[in-house]
């Protein structure tokens, strides 16, 4: 290593610094009113849950294509720019910033699970862009007043709502069928750790006698659930709460069947009623399975819902997921706000979206769903629990949520945990 070499190395380093810095800038486009409205999306497009990103993006695309086909607003159409965060919070944060600053996106859709959603949330807080969380269901994201900021909204369901409704639903069945011995399984991460006690709490507060005989916390994306299954088997429960989702849920059910786990156990699986999951499970739990409506085209049973599902199917050749409708609703809030304000100015949009009602396939207030202004998250979306059957329509006997009751219990909960 002599002098000249080291100098070359330093120069090379300098060049690379410059290049990596300038590359995104080269593609930067100036803002002008005639330009398309650039909208960003970060989500998981690779690895085990690539499906999350893909169906989220599809949900958005369907809306944006309709908007553009209708001529946009004032000649301005929407252009979607998506980035793969691979589910890593640090990448979600970085890409969100990059979309805002170098791609010039004033509107960001955050298609991230809980950890990354919080990271993107932090970036949005210190920026002037509008952020719509379309995936993260973690209650804390909007319930915690300390985390709120004027420009961040959520169009996804909230874990607490599912727990409130599911708890009441499960309590009723438990009382009818005399189920007292409960086991739980959920992935060991923020959402699982939060949803499980909430759900069980509401089962109890609805008057069912609960004896918790086993808790299992497998890792997220664990391939083998044998140890969890045998642990649950040992405890001989009558009912099982299951917070797993996607491929994890399918693996768990497939493997559980081998052990006859579900021969005598009623399963309350929040995430089962989603088409992709339902169609992958080859053998449903024998003694009965219940689920929240993730997304099924028969609930709410309205023509708007069925036709949206059909349109999605026609465009993408697959059925929509829970993530698709969450994205769709988020897109509709943004599009409505753009139309109303005739601008893409984040501050104006944010003001318009607060308290806004939009028509949605899953709307429950006269076909509409509402962006509650106080915490900027949606309410009055399709929420209900029902029994799973092996074929279309998959979810039957759906008990719809009484939203006024949900909101009352939510307020109680917030007061209890100190978010009120």
């Amino acid at each position: 290593m002599n002098g000249s070499v080291s100098r070359r190395s330093v120069i090379a380093a300098g060049v690379s610094v410059g290049m990596s810095g300038l590359a995104p800038g080269v593609f930067r486009q100036a803002h002008a009113e005639s330009r398309p409205i650039k909208v960003g999306l970060t989500s998981i497009f690779s690895g085990r849950v690539a499906q999350l990103g893909i169906t989220t993006k599809n949900g958005l695309l369907l809306e944006f294509e309709a908007f553009n086909a209708a001529g946009g607003v004032g000649g301005r159409t929407i252009e979607l720019v998506d980035r793969d965060s691979k589910g890593k919070p640090e990448d979600a944060a970085r890409l969100t910033r990059e979309l805002i600053e170098s791609e010039g996106c004033d509107i960001i859709f955050c298609g991230e699970a809980s950890g990354s959603a919080f990271a993107a949330h932090e970036v949005a807080r210190s920026s002037r862009a509008l952020l719509m969380h379309v995936i993260s269901e973690t209650t804390q994201l909007t319930a915690d007043a300390k985390l709120r900021s004027w420009n961040s909204f959520r169009s996804a369901r909230q874990a607490l709502h599912d727990s409130i409704v599911g708890g009441a639903f499960a309590a009723k069945i438990a009382k009818e069928q005399g189920l007292t011995r409960w086991a739980t399984i959920a992935a060991d991460y923020a959402y699982g750790r939060e949803a499980t006690p909430e759900f069980m709490g509401y089962v109890e507060s609805n008057g069912a006698k609960v004896e918790l005989v086993a808790e299992s916390w497998p890792k997220l994306f664990q391939p083998d659930y044998t140890d969890s299954i045998t642990k649950i088997l040992q405890s001989r429960p009558q009912a099982l709460f299951c917070g797993l989702w996607g491929g994890d849920l399918v693996s768990f059910i497939d493997q559980g069947n081998l052990f006859g786990l579900f021969d005598n156990v009623r399963v309350f699986a929040i995430h089962l009623a989603d088409y992709t999951t339902l169609m992958s499970v080859k053998q449903l739990p024998a003694a009965g399975a219940f689920s929240s409506n993730r997304y099924v085209s028969v609930f709410p049973s309205r023509s708007e819902n069925a036709s949206w599902s059909e349109a999605y199917n026609k465009r993408f050749g697959s059925k929509p997921t829970n993530w698709s409708w969450e994205a769709c609703v988020g897109a509709r809030f943004v599009i409505d706000a753009i139309r109303r304000t005739n601008s893409a100015e984040p501050a104006k949009l944010a003001e318009a979206i607060k308290g806004m009602q939009v028509a949605a396939p899953v709307g429950m207030r006269d076909g509409k769903t509402v962006m509650r202004s106080e915490d900027q998250t949606i309410v009055d979306y399709a929420l209900g629990w029902g029994r799973i059957v092996p074929n279309d329509p998959y979810l039957v006997d759906v008990q719809p949520a009484d939203w006024s009751e949900v909101l009352r219990l939510e307020t109680d909960w917030k007061r209890r945990v100190g978010f009120g």
Partner: protein, 302 residues
């Protein structure tokens, strides 16, 4: 920590039977993958970071064959043979050029293949997770033994894995091929001097290792949801097994894989939050006390 639960479990035959069976099942599947890794590692000295991809591809090949023929036997054969052939092709085209390159370069090339295979799987089979479904022959009630529950399919898996384990042991101990391989691990130069086509032996060994991983993926396919990237978790576990058991030692891989399986199954009852941690503690302890692994040969003296 819930050691009382572990105590209660240890006192009931049903719990012991179920947990031991569960531990053996995960252990044997892990063994199949790790056996291939440890062979490639121990004999070829190649850090095969793409071994998890072989497992994944085995599962997907099996899925495709099962969808086409409806036969689980055909699916397993397709998984094993397909990946074996891929392994042979990779060895002759790329891997043999980097046996003597630095470990970093080996890892880098493997990393590239992991990315490529994951993406190809997404392109061919889609990004949605797939589920193959249980062959009808195994759709039957679990076997009850002393109150413990054992699924017939897992009994079958353990049987097959055991048969493969014995098969490899015989291949390595009793055949001329095995002798050549063991000699290669010790003194590659000597074997070449004897006029044996070492390149062929290397390629076949790499293919054999890949085939083992592929067969594990294919065998487990009915009880795993398949996605691109599913090989990742098993890769890390296989490395742990290889290190604990000792590089190149089939017996070591078996013992270590079963040990991990049992730690998992009993750990989930006694200390669910530290099962993972405990496995790493075991690995650290083995490396500190006996770096060559439980069954590895002594690190060369002088």
């Amino acid at each position: 920590m819930d050691l009382s639960a572990l105590g209660i479990c240890a006192a009931t035959s049903s719990c012991i039977v179920t947990q031991v069976a569960a531990g053996l099942i995960s252990g044997f599947l892990l063994f199949l993958v790790a056996a291939g890794l440890t062979l490639i590692f121990g004999v070829l000295g190649f850090v095969n970071f793409m071994h998890g991809s072989f497992y994944m591809l085995g599962a997907y090949f099996a899925y495709a064959a099962y969808a086409a023929t409806g036969s689980y036997t055909a699916a397993v054969i397709a998984g094993a043979a397909g990946v074996g052939a891929l392994g042979a092709a990779l060895e002759t085209s790329v891997v043999r050029r980097i046996y003597h390159a630095d470990v970093l370069l080996q890892i880098l090339v493997c990393y590239a293949f992991i990315l490529i295979f994951d993406d190809l799987v997404g392109i061919v089979w889609g990004d949605e997770f797939l589920s193959m479904g249980m062959p009808s022959a195994f759709k039957r009630a679990p076997i009850l033994l002393f109150g413990g529950v054992i699924p017939p399919f897992y009994l079958f898996l353990v049987g097959i894995a055991l048969a493969i384990a014995i098969g490899i042991a015989l291949l390595m101990q009793k055949t001329r091929y095995g002798k050549i391989v063991r000699a290669l691990a010790d003194k590659p130069g000597m074997v070449a001097a004897l006029g044996i086509n070492t390149q062929l032996v290397y390629a076949s060994l790499f293919a054999l290792g890949a085939m083992l991983a592929g067969s594990a993926g294919a065998l487990a396919a009915p009880v795993r949801s398949m996605t691109a990237g599913m090989g990742f978790a098993i890769l890390i576990e296989s490395f742990i097994v290889t290190v604990i058991g000792g590089m190149g030692s089939i017996a070591g891989a078996l013992v270590a894989a079963l040990m991990i399986g049992l730690v998992r199954s009993f750990g989930s009852i006694g200390f669910p939050l530290f099962t993972e941690g405990l496995i790493f503690v075991i690995m650290i302890a083995v490396l500190v006390v006996r770096p060559q692994g439980l069954f590895g040969r002594q690190v060369r003296e002088l």
